[in-house]
Every structure is written in structure tokens, then in C-alpha cells.
Symmetry: C2
Subunit: 383 residues, 2 copies
């Protein structure tokens, strides 16, 4: 397995690194747009590459249900299937099973659930989830975890965490058994434990024994308060080993990245830029703006005057507003191009500030503009 | 006004020509995809250019209602507004007023109608329709016509035709008055007359007196039988002057083009390739196929193995089927790229067969495959 993480430089708590995968390098900190169903919604792979995105996330839960692993494997893996030549990280489906599907039954063995598409029954185990991601040919695989509501009581969260650890061990073993048999990506563990400092610590300790090449923090940005998010992230991130990449799952806003990068996080994924775009919400240096607003009816300026994306080089706010008002597909396409490019440029600026050892200054300059917490106002399930 | 039509060669009844406009040349026979609301649905202008399309059609009715002519004029015209640098033909709105809007009141002066969007009342006159298209900066403008149901009685159609001629005269005069005041495209007349040979002849005679730089045949492919379509086209097309471009409005299928080009038609527009694409219907050398069909679930081949479009160079039938089944925007995008490219290549092959004086042989080889008549099975109003 051709996976390597190298730290290049630091600035305050932030790290500048590079992850090497069989499909190329990822300069960190990095943001991964979400390609749930084998497509980053509304973008061709060419348009995606042009945004400067380095790696995308695929959802194992969705791809397992549709089109199914056989179809993707037969096509030569997820990269060839979707026409994306860069690195791909797939999640384990744990989060979706607990957020999208109905009638879950959790057991030591795994989780039974009904498909959100057709109600059909399915059973996922840690081993099966590894096999699925191996069939996809993912560059980074994630272990199956239980992602409990952080509002559950401590006893529930403790038991959940212990189960997640036992599943992580089985995932690690399944991954080891497959190693050598076929090209296989790197497997990351996922820290759980809700908002309890002690449970988070215990989760990290147990996972470290399994010696994963990378660690994710799960179960955050799932409805908790801003203070709880920050406190839990601040106590968990420093427990993770320096020399391994750290991935904060499902986060977040430009402001969240400042906070989390400052705590040593290297990877992020979120549906925010793509989902916001489809809802006519575009990211600009002045914040997030609804391009439907009447004030843009004749506005000849690009969405973001500082942006170099295809959309901002060719189209006016007035035109893009019109596309949304007239319900034209091209509105979603052009807004997605811009938002993904906005996030890619934002991460590039963060990386540069670390290289030049002025990360704290960069944060001080930008923080007022981007309050650090996920404000995904649509509140819909992940796309 | 920088408009010129030049005949380059002939083969049987078919003509190979070139139309020169202020925004570039159009090699004829040519197919214009429809960009109803200032966008060829689902395509960026870049993707559109890559399909080999030379000219697009914009709908005056839609653009008048939304975003309104002021917005487009302020943006520097329709070309700049929508980011399409090539030639644009706009229709007059006549067809849409009679097919989309409700509560029409026709008078000598013009037509009052209610918007299909918000029910608001509007009044269009021949003069206003010229002013609208002048504001858009169209390369080819069309006169306002009444587009009656061909099933109406002869007396109705005769009166309608006479009104259309009087409107054509007023349009011509309005266009002359604007000439010199601002850059202005060429104005085409529209032949009406339903399915009556004598009325079609009379319409042509009356329009010829007005000396338009190009002539369109309207009121066909609007619900009549295949034989009626062919007969009416065959008797109307030869009446039009040799040295002017001839435009068959709202047509059609690959087979329709063979028939109509053979009768000397130079220009076509139709929503078929774009609308079919959004409904998962793709054009292939074997005919029109629904890519949703289960047989494509694991099919690794491109939509069309002879095609050089972006879609066929990068994606499998299986993947595109998946995108439609999963209701992903990218399905419509990729299928539209292919269908528009298919139509553009088809017209290029027709042009080449004329240049090489083997048009009849080309038709004989292809006609079994493409029966000549619009089979727009969706039956929905124009997009």
C-alpha cells in the first residue's frame, strides 16, 4: 500500500502536510467535497478538477445500495466508474445508517437497516464494509462505527463507544487479511464518545492500540451547541498522534476550518458548498449570500470579484440569479463550480499561511468574517 | 447590417451554404439547439461550443417575461448575458403565445395574453417584438406571426394568414426604422397557411413582396399527420427564393432533416435533443434509446461508440444510467452534451454528403434507421 503522510511545516497549532496515495498527493489541510452517489452533485470530473479540489469523498452507504458494489467493481473501481482520477476517501456508511435509514437493529455482529430508497432490508458488518470499500478501490477507507445522537445518556454513549472500538478491531483485522490479496487503500479509525471528555480519551486510547495510519473524529457537528463542538474538538484533537493525518468528519464552514486547523486537523469533508449552491447560496468574501435576492436582478458583477473560477470569469450575478428564478439546471452547475472553488481557494490560503508561519495572523484577520461553527441552515440530511 | 447568405454547392435538392452574421458564420444546413431562457438547458456555453453547435435559438416570449428586455440590454445583449459568443436567432414569441399562455385576445393591433408564469397580462405587437429582439441583439430576428392550430377551418386559417402578412409588413417597417439607429440583425418572414396548398402559396407570395433576407416555414410539426407534414413542406419549400436561407421552425428528428434538407431547407431548431436528454433518452446510430433500461446496468460501453463527445469519451452507459436512476443533475448534463453533439455531427455529415454530391445516397443509407417525422413522444410544450 502506497500511503504516506509527511509533515512539512507548522504554524501555531496548525500543520502543513502531504498525504500520498496511489492516485496522487493531497496537500493538507485539505477539504474534500462530497460525491455521495458517485458524482459531486452537478459537476463533471473536469469541472471538479478545475476547482482545484484534490480528493473527493464517496458514500459507501449510497453506493452499496445503488448501483451496488458489483457494478462498480466490474467497471474497474470507483475512480474509473465516475471518471475521477484523483484520490478518493470513502466513509463507512455508519453515519448514513444512523441518519438516513429507518428501523435499525444494532447487534454485536453489525447493523440491520432498511434502505431509504426502497425499504429493502440490509445487514452491514465491519468486515462487509471493508470489502465494499475494497471493491470501490478507495484510497482511504473508514471503519464502520456507531454514530450515536450526542444527546443520549452517558451509559448509552459508553456502550456505543466500546462497540465502535470492537468493530474498529474487526475492521483492522479484515483489512489486514485483504492486504496483499489486492490493491488496498489505507484504513482510518474513527474516534467517538459524544461530548464526554473521558469517553473521547478512552476512544482514542483504544484506537491507538490498533495502530491506524490515520484517525478521524466522528460524532461532531451533528446538532450539538457551538461551545460543545469547540470544547470536544479541542480536547480530542491533541490526543491524536502527531505523525498521522487527522480528519474531522462532516465539517464545515470556512470559520470551522480556521478553528480546527489551529487544533491540528488535516482533512475535512462537508456537503455545505455543494448543497448551498443548489439552494442558490453562494460563498463570497463578504459571507454566504442568497443569489436569488432581488438586489442582484441587474448586478453585472461576478459572484465574487476576487474569484478565478469558470463561473466568476464568465457570468454576472444577474444571470445566475435569473437561472435560479427560472429553475434552470445551469444555476446549480455554475453556483457549485464557484462554491467548490471558493472552498479550495480558502484551504490553499490556509496552507500558505502555515507555510509562511502566519497562520494565527491569518485567523485574526478572517475570524470576524467567518464565525467558527457549522451553520448549515438547510438542516436537510447529508447529500 | 453584416448579414449574408452564400450558396456553396448542391446535391439533388439539398443546398450547402454559409450564413454570415456579426457573431460569425453558420455552415448550412445547420441545427440550432434551443436556449429558451438564456441557457441551452444543462449546458455551459463552453460545453455547448464543444458540441460543434454553431448558432442557438432564444425564445423572445420567455426572455421578455423573465428576466425582461431591460436586464438583458443592460447586460450588453443576450450574447454577453448568457456567455455565448456565437450567432443567436430569436423567435418572435408567436408560437409560445399560442401554445403556452392562456386567455389570448387577438386583434389587428397585436395579441394580449396572460403570462404562463404568474398570470400577469401582456400585450405584444409586431413593432414591440422587433424592439425586444433588437434589445437582445439577435443576429436573426423573426416577425410576429399567428401560429394557428392547423385543424382550424379554412376560413379561419385564411384570415389568420392575412393577419400574419399584415403583421409581417409592420415588422418589416419597424425593422427598417430601427436600421442605422443601432446594430440590428436580419429579419426573417414566416410562411403560414396551415395544410392548404393555396394558402401556403399565397403566404409566400405576400411575404416575397416584403423582400425578407430569409424565410421560415412555420405552423408545421404542430400535431398534423406525417403525410400532411411532408406534403405541405414539399409544396412550400420550393416556392421560396433560391438565394435566401430557408428555415423550418421547430423541426425535428434526424430523419426529418434528411427529408427537409432534400427539399432545400437550410436551418432547423428543435428542443428534441435537449429535452430527450433530460428524460434519459439518448440518440445513437441505432436510434433513440432510454438509458434507464435495466440492460444497461453494467454496460461498460459509451452511449454511442462512434461518438467523440466529452460524455462518450469518459463515461459508461452503466454510469449514466445510474445517474438517472439516482436523480443526479449530472445525468441530464452528460446526456445533453451527447445528444447535442449527436445532432451537430449528424448535420456535419449531411453537409459533407452535399459537398461530395452524394446526398441522395446518404439518405438512402440512413433513411431506414431514421423514419422521417418528428416523434417527440414526450408531447410536452416546448422548453
Amino acid at each position: 500500500m502506497d500511503f504516506r503522510f509527511q509533515l512539512l511545516s507548522r504554524s501555531a497549532g496548525a500543520r502543513r502536510g502531504v498525504i500520498r496515495t496511489p492516485h496522487g498527493a493531497v496537500q493538507t489541510p485539505a477539504f474534500l467535497p462530497v460525491g455521495t452517489q458517485g458524482t459531486v452533485k452537478a459537476l463533471t470530473p473536469r469541472a471538479l478538477r478545475e476547482t482545484g479540489v484534490q480528493m473527493v469523498l464517496g458514500n459507501t452507504y449510497h453506493l452499496y445500495l445503488r448501483p451496488g458494489p458489483e457494478v462498480i467493481e466490474q467497471a474497474g473501481g470507483l475512480h474509473r466508474w465516475m471518471g475521477w482520477e484523483g484520490p478518493i476517501l470513502t466513509d463507512s456508511g455508519g453515519f448514513q445508517v444512523f441518519s438516513l435509514s429507518s428501523l435499525r437493529t444494532l447487534s454485536e455482529e453489525g447493523v440491520e437497516f432498511r434502505s431509504h430508497i426502497d425499504g429493502s432490508k440490509h445487514f452491514l458488518t465491519p468486515e462487509k464494509v471493508i470489502a465494499l470499500q475494497a471493491a470501490f478501490g478507495s484510497d482511504i477507507l473508514m471503519v464502520l462505527d456507531e454514530c450515536p445522537d450526542p444527546g443520549k445518556d452517558r451509559l448509552y454513549l459508553e456502550k456505543s463507544l466500546e462497540l465502535t472500538t470492537r468493530w474498529a478491531r474487526r475492521s483492522r483485522e479484515a483489512h489486514r487479511r485483504l492486504t496483499g490479496q489486492r490493491p488496498l487503500g489505507a484504513l482510518f479509525g474513527i474516534v467517538q464518545g459524544g461530548l464526554y471528555a473521558e469517553l473521547r480519551r478512552r476512544s482514542v486510547e483504544q484506537l491507538l492500540e490498533l495502530d491506524f495510519p490515520g484517525y478521524a473524529i466522528g460524532g461532531l457537528s451533528v446538532g450539538e451547541k457551538k461551545e460543545e463542538f469547540e470544547r470536544t474538538l479541542a480536547l480530542t484533537a491533541p490526543l491524536l498522534p502527531e505523525e498521522r493525518p487527522r480528519y474531522l468528519m462532516g465539517v464545515g464552514t470556512p470559520g470551522d476550518f480556521l478553528l480546527a486547523v489551529g487544533l491540528g486537523i488535516d482533512l475535512f469533508d462537508c456537503v455545505m458548498p455543494t448543497r448551498a449552491a443548489r439552494n442558490a447560496a453562494v460563498f463570497t468574501p463578504a459571507g454566504r449570500v442568497s443569489i436569488r435576492r432581488a438586489e442582484f436582478k441587474s448586478d453585472p458583477r461576478p459572484l465574487d470579484e476576487t474569484c478565478d473560477c469558470y463561473t466568476c470569469r464568465h457570468f454576472s450575478r444577474a444571470y445566475i440569479r435569473h437561472l435560479f428564478v427560472a429553475r434552470e439546471i445551469l444555476g446549480a452547475v455554475l453556483a457549485t463550480v464557484h462554491n467548490v472553488r471558493f472552498f479550495a481557494r480558502w484551504m490553499a490560503r490556509i496552507r500558505q499561511s502555515i507555510e509562511e508561519d502566519r497562520f494565527e495572523r491569518f485567523c485574526a484577520e478572517q475570524r470576524n468574517r467567518w464565525s467558527a461553527f457549522t451553520d448549515n441552515e438547510e438542516g436537510a440530511p447529508p447529500d
